[in-house]
């Protein structure tokens, strides 16, 4: 809900394109659908009606709406917006439409952190394990994401200058290393842990608690508000580093902020929801087709479309195999991968991809 009012605020402030209005409408519809639909069959109008007439709402309906669907919706909005904006920033920074947060090691680092916790948490001192409780895996995933990104940034920096090419290559090497370490842990894991880590890799919006949303929101919220400030710099960067520098942009500062912003957005998103692919690539691409490559609009639109699409994907994940649910990463990949291929075929020859 906070996201929607924020979106409205942004829409009112900036000269309003029809695209932006359409995205806001889509987001509102997605949110309403998500709150009003689910296996338990609790309908939103009915409960709202009960609220207005002062009739008592049953415990079950209240739990379904307030403890299950609402936190899930908020988490979907945050994670979707974070992943899409992080993707858009990465593509701008690397001037490569294939870039996503995975390039700066976020995914591999988070994966390693999460898998390490799932497999090795039994060896932790009981006091630490008890202190973190169910937070162990998200905290480890976030720590892994940040460690990987900072390490990579360090490797790519030479006397205050960050080489984008080195960042890319070192990212590949680091992802391979993290993958190998994850492989060792996978080998050590027992049956139950194997199932857990497989499911983690496929992502889920289940298990959204108020505390998780608060902590995630403290990371994602400010990052989402601050990233549009990078828009002018990213636009200039599209013309090349030298040109952008001549135009008076502090390129090193831009890179620094972009990487920190992406690590905060994607790191928090992955820590909260596990591995969810394709949102970061497909959403910015769709928007570039619909509204052009200007980052001033792209970054805000990406937040709106990313949030709406992930909430809709979660709706599908919750409904197709009810009363069970599908990992959301499967849904985003099944929907996202063909869309991405379609974009590539349509745009053949453009952008050199």
């Amino acid at each position: 809900m906070a996201m929607t009012s924020l979106a409205l605020l942004v829409a009112i402030r900036s000269p309003c394109a029809p695209l932006r209005l359409g995205l806001i409408a889509l987001l509102v519809i997605a949110a309403a659908l998500s709150l009003g639909t689910g296996a338990a069959g609790v309908s939103l109008p009915q409960v709202l009606g009960q609220c207005l007439t002062g009739a008592e709402i049953s415990t079950r309906d209240r739990v379904v709406l307030l403890d299950i669907r609402l936190p899930r919706l908020v988490m979907g909005l945050m994670v979707g917006a974070a992943l899409a904006v992080a993707g858009a920033v990465m593509q701008g920074l690397f001037r490569n439409p294939l870039a996503d947060p995975g390039i700066i090691g976020v995914g591999a680092g988070a994966g390693l952190g999460a898998v390490a916790m799932i497999v090795l948490s039994g060896f932790l001192p009981a006091a630490i394990a008890a202190f973190f409780g169910t937070w162990l895996v998200p905290v480890a995933a976030f720590g892994g994401a940040w460690t990987a990104t900072l390490l990579l940034y360090r490797v790519a920096s030479r006397s205050g200058q960050v080489s984008i090419a080195t960042l890319l290559l070192a990212g590949i090497a680091l992802a391979a290393l993290a993958g190998a370490l994850t492989g060792i842990l996978t080998y050590l894991a027992d049956d139950t842990q194997l199932r857990d880590l497989t499911f983690w890799g496929m992502g889920s919006l289940a298990g959204a608690s108020d505390m998780k949303l608060l902590v995630g929101g403290l990371l994602i919220g400010p990052a989402l508000i601050l990233t549009p400030r990078l828009a002018r710099g990213l636009n200039a960067l599209a013309l090349g580093e030298a040109t952008a520098a001549h135009m008076g942009h502090d390129i090193e500062r831009l890179k620094h902020r972009a990487v920190i912003g992406v690590a905060a957005l994607a790191g928090a998103a992955v820590a909260m929801a596990g591995g969810i692919g394709f949102v970061g690539i497909v959403v910015p691409h769709l928007l570039r087709i619909a509204g052009g490559p200007d980052h001033k609009t792209l970054l805000v639109d990406a937040a709106l479309l990313g949030a709406a699409l992930l909430v809709l994907a979660d709706l599908i994940a919750r409904l197709v195999v009810a009363p069970a649910e599908l990992p959301i990463g499967i849904v985003t990949a099944i929907l996202g991968a063909p869309v991405f291929l379609w974009i590539l075929i349509r745009r053949q020859g453009l952008g050199g991809v």
């Binding site: 296996a39 608690s209 009363p323």
Partner: protein, 279 residues
């Protein structure tokens, strides 16, 4: 909460209020115990691993026991959930408890004692203590019979449990696995030593272990381990088991489930391991 229980009771016109009327059972062994206690008709849903008795497979499937959907489970309006110790994720379990559902987590040891504990807890939760005592008594009697047969074995056979055979890679049941537990109950010895749980083993280790019997789960499709696969495998095909045709395939849930049918499984495995003693 009271209201909810009342509504649920009215809706299903269940027996007394003390007996939970809408039960969800998570875990193959748990479901078997519920059925063995004669409370099968109270089940409204099951998890993916619950496949016995056959009739319960018609119930809605709430998915994998460690990846439950809180809303999906609540949609079935249960008043009692009986779950394996591993049920999760923890947030979903918390939400279910918050919604006023009685959530009972069962001990999860793959051992004879583990089964006895599970029967006692399920019996108490379903308010069928007498039936549970009777079930435990018959379970103990059957187990005693199995132990007697197993104890009479002079030279225990060395058994290799092959969980899967993908791309020629053998996944075996090592130390502490449920496969090892059932092999030992049946009077055999696990041939796969030096690895914990279900792990891939190298061909050379298989040749060195040279098991007398190769045990597999009899299932169909992609994951099936067939006799032909075993005989064609470079290492498994050279073992004493393959040369002597001592290949045993049994139903996976019966063999590894550790529920009320475990004595049956151990007895059947024993008979397959030592056909000469039976004859």
């Amino acid at each position: 909460m009271k209201r909810l229980a009342l509504i649920a009771a009215l809706l299903t016109a269940g027996p007394a209020l003390a007996e939970p009327a809408r039960v969800i059972s998570l875990g193959g062994a748990v479901t078997e115990i519920v059925a063995a206690l004669g409370a099968e008709d109270r089940l409204v849903a099951r998890d993916t691993t619950s496949e016995y008795p056959e009739a319960i497979t018609k119930l809605p499937d709430v998915g994998y026991v460690r990846a439950l959907s809180a809303e999906g489970v609540l949609a079935l309006a249960p008043d009692l959930i009986l779950a394996e110790a591993t049920a999760g994720p923890p947030e979903a379990v918390e939400t279910l408890k918050a919604a006023g559902v009685d959530f009972v987590a069962l001990p999860g040891d793959p051992s004879v004692q583990g089964v006895r504990e599970k029967i006692a807890v399920v019996g108490a939760a379903l308010d069928r203590k007498e039936e549970a005592q009777a079930l435990t008594a018959s379970f103990d009697a059957e187990m005693d019979a199995v132990r007697k047969s197993a104890g009479a074995v002079a030279t225990p056979k060395r058994v290799l449990f092959v969980l899967s055979l993908q791309n020629g890679r053998v996944m075996a049941g090592g130390e502490g696995s449920s496969a090892e537990a059932i092999i030992e109950l049946a009077g055999g010895v696990n041939a796969a030593t030096g690895l914990a749980g279900y792990k891939p083993v190298t061909d050379e280790a298989i040749l060195a272990a040279d098991p007398d019997v190769i045990l597999t789960m009899d299932r169909e499709g992609e994951m099936a381990v067939t006799e032909r696969d075993i005989l064609a495998h470079p290492a498994l095909g050279q073992t004493r088991a393959a040369r002597g045709g001592a290949l045993v395939a049994m139903d996976g849930m019966l063999l590894l489930g550790f529920g009320p049918r475990t004595p049956q499984a151990a007895q059947a495995l024993h008979a397959a391991l030592y056909p000469e003693a039976e004859g």
